[in-house]
Amino acid sequence: MSTYVLRRLLLFVPTLIGASMLIFVMLRLVPGDIAEILVYQTGSESSAVQRRQIQQIRHELGLDRPIVTQYVEWVAGALRGDFGQSYVQRRPVVDILRERFPRSMELAILTLLLAMAWAIPLGVVSAVRQNGVLDYLSRLLSLSGLSLPLFFTGALILYGLVRFFRWLPPLEFVSFTENPWENLKQLVWPALAQAYYISAPITRLTRSQMLEVVRQDYVRTARAKGLAERAVIYRHALRNSLLPVVTFIGWWGGRLLGGLVIMETIFVVPGMGSALIQAVSQRDYPTVQAMVFVMALVFLIVNLVVDLLYAWLDPRIRYA
């Protein structure tokens, strides 16, 4: 078991190197760096001055050095837990991460909880009443979440709250520890929209797993023993069919951190997503690199945890 975990952890290394290299190179392929943006966007000074200023900024930030040198230096720093200074905020990126990471994590967890609370019952109903009206209804219901882009659902929620309740979620972020009620009042809406959006695959998976498990021998046995249908479904079928569902949700959860970009922007949540998209548009390389790195790491860790959980829940799986 521990050698398995160790091996998996070792496999993190090539993945993280690959992911960080990829984003490193891609960022530099995007036209315009921060120097050009700062200077050309203002466009107040003569063109000769502008050119000189661009060179000066690039030099200050080390952007005029070969890309390999820049990458090696970045890795060296990252190994020491130093992700450099944000080009825009001129303060350590680690500070920015420390501020933003917990907020996005909270939003992601809230989203997953809401998604499960909504999607799994729908899937169960759907399976129990296979090909009945309730099955169709719940499938349509969960699909409806997928059928509109998130930004649109988000905008509709904002519009609807103002239009019908003359109320808007708080615009000022308050942390959960500071004031849980105010915090949830703001976060529950983006979480709802996002949960609604990701519920369709969860419902679908729950349904098909249930259908599969219901036909398996031990369930038949349970039925034959004369257990009430209800008990069969909840005690036996559901528990066993939830395994792959949990895996799937975990897998989603790992990617969710990066998927919150749009919801954070619309609902003014100062998390990683909104910071990341801003950092990309401002070409704040260190911030983007660090945030993408953290997101990749979370993705890998969540995957590992899900796999371990899976093995723990299902005794049939053993590690070689």
Binding site: V30, P31, G32, D33, E36, I37, L38, V39, Y40, Q41, T42, G43, S44, E45, S46, S47, A48, Q50, Q53, Q56, I57, S86, V88, Q89, R90, R91, I96, E99, R100, G154, A155, L158, Y159, L161, V162, R163, R166, W167, L168, L171, E172, F173, T265, I266, F267, V268, P270, S274, A275, Q278, S281, Q282, R283
Partner: protein, 537 residues
């Protein structure tokens, strides 16, 4: 509980309304006694990230720190077209117009309690004027004009100019030329951090929750006795139209008076949702330009530039793309710079600006045919922000009429700046450029002279440079006006410039009716210190 209190408030409001209706004593409105207290809520359209007003150029930076600092001079919060003293009680110019002396207020304290003296002014302007220091707003404006700054005594500062320059005073009064404390600059090196936000202004910098909110609180020791009235100002950081409009409709913000202005549809929507606001249309001191690249074919050919100048239907562009909110064709906007602007009747008779367009379009078509008998294909670039793409579509449709077949190329916002700055385009269909100061000189040194920072097309006409230079150095108002008229007439008559003014942009804004004593500034940058604003019950 909140339901009931809302109801109660509503009842009170209705009662008050009834009272107002019953009492026809209208003059009360003009002589209201300012009421202290209350927090003003409004918003920034983005997260400033950095806070150094001397070194940065985005509006969000200026807006985030506006109330914290004072300048030597300022645009009068009560009458924004007037320049009045701020830290300087009075100021004088020498007879030759090359020396300005500022007499500073005494007993002014920095927010940390240190006394303010001329040494702070000198430190600030030495920093801004340092050729090695990138100061894109204040520095860019002052560096060409100012030779040196001297502290004559603790309460007197002298600016020596390189030449007598009319834009000097408007520049010093600009919201970007703020005075920072010498000891703070020495301690922190720059003004980026929250700790370094120590000014002499009506508000103290209280809180910066990045990506969420910026708060100021009342400075109880402000040098203007009795001011400010407000207890504080809160700026939410709201990115994107849907969120901004939702906040406005829900009554979470009292004011929308910065970039981006509301679109007509947003203003209509707000008007339906709230009756307690004044919605107004106002200029934002910004020009909507179409740029042609004069450094490469086909627009290195003056005939081709002339053809586009003739063909563009500015009235249609303003009517459709700006929803009518703008002054088409003007090189200077009379609403902003008054008599310096060529009268609009004259502008609207100029080739390319006159209606109907038929004759101009026919002539333009001939010009294009002369050089490209089969017409030509060009790439029409826009940055993908605001409604630039819509504008681009309209421009393409207009150019099609004269045989120029455009295909749209959209750039991600920042990538677009990089491309345009390097001259990597053929036509830019839409690029707005905001003026840093409200002075007729601004637009020419931004977009028309050879060296201008936003002369993306690389247009160069020695005569334009010379006329602009002459107008800049002219201090006699009548002669200066004549010089700018000559320049505008010259540009309109030549009609081959590469920076084409489609119009001066206006937009819709709103102000809560309870917000008093606030008048929008003449640029988006000025007049957001809220020094004299107050909130009626």
């Amino acid at each position: 509980m909140p339901m009931r209190s809302r109801l109660a408030r509503l009842t009170v409001r209705c009662a008050l309304l009834a009272l107002v209706v019953l009492l026809p004593a209208a003059p009360a409105a003009t002589q209201e006694k300012p009421r202290p207290g209350g927090i003003l809520n409004w918003f920034d359209y983005g997260d400033p990230g950095r806070l150094d007003v001397h070194a940065e150029s985005p509006l969000v930076v200026q807006q985030a720190t506006a109330g914290v600092y004072s300048g030597l001079l300022q645009y009068d919060p009560g009458e924004p077209s007037q320049i009045i003293g701020d830290l300087a009680e009075k100021w004088t110019a020498s007879a030759d117009g090359k020396t300005y002396t500022f007499h500073l207020r005494k007993n002014v304290k920095w927010h940390d309690g240190q006394p303010f003296t001329s040494a702070d002014v000198k430190a600030s302007f030495d920093r801004i004027l340092n050729p090695e220091f990138k100061s894109p707003k204040c520095g860019a404006a002052l560096k060409p004009m100012v030779a040196s700054v001297e502290a004559v005594d603790p309460y007197t500062v002298e600016f020596k100019l390189k030449f007598a320059a009319a834009p000097f005073v408007p520049s010093i009064a600009s919201a970007w030329c703020r005075v920072a404390a010498k000891h703070i600059l020495a301690k922190y090196g720059d003004l980026n951090s929250v700790e370094a936000q120590v000014g002499t202004g009506p508000f103290k910098f209280k809180k910066y929750e990045r990506g969420s909110v910026i708060e100021w609180e009342k400075n109880p020791n402000y040098f203007m006795p009795g001011l400010p009235y407000l207890d504080g100002v809160k700026q939410f950081i709201l990115v994107g139209g849907p969120t901004q409009l939702a906040a406005a409709k829900a009554g979470k913000v009292m004011l929308w008076d910065a970039w981006p202005p509301m679109r007509k549809t947003q203003a209509d929507e707000l008007a339906r949702a709230r009756t307690d606001v004044d919605i107004y249309q106002a200029p934002i001191n910004t020009v909507f330009f179409v740029y042609l690249n004069a450094k490469k074919p086909p627009f290195d050919n003056p005939d081709m530039r002339r053809a586009v100048n003739l063909a563009l239907d500015r009235q249609e562009l303003v009517g459709k793309a700006l929803e009518g909110a703008g002054v088409p064709c003007a090189i200077l906007d009379p609403k902003l710079v008054g008599e310096f602007a060529l009268p609009l009747e004259e502008v609207n008779k100029a080739p390319g600006c006159r209606q109907p367009k038929d004759a101009d379009v026919a002539e333009a078509k001939k010009l294009v045919e002369k050089h490209y008998p089969g017409g030509l294909d060009v790439e029409v670039a826009v940055r993908q922000v605001g409604n630039y793409v819509d504008r681009g579509q309209l421009v393409i449709a207009q150019l099609r009429k004269i045989g120029i077949r455009g295909t749209m190329k959209t750039h991600e916002s920042a990538a677009g700046y990089a491309a345009f700055g390097k001259g990597d385009f053929t036509i830019i269909a839409s690029q707005d450029r905001a003026m840093d100061i409200n002075d007729p000189s601004g637009v020419f040194h931004i977009a028309y002279t050879t060296d201008a920072g936003s002369n993306y097309g690389g247009y160069s006409d020695p005569k334009v440079d010379e006329l602009a230079e002459r107008a800049l150095k002219e201090t006699n108002r009548a002669k200066r006006k004549q010089a700018y008229w000559d320049l505008q007439r010259y540009l309109l008559a030549r009609g081959d410039h590469a920076s084409i003014s489609v119009g001066w942009v206006e937009g819709w804004f709103f102000k809560d009716k309870k917000l008093r004593n606030y008048k929008p500034g003449l640029t988006t940058y000025d007049n957001n210190t809220f020094m004299k604003a107050w909130i009626a019950p």
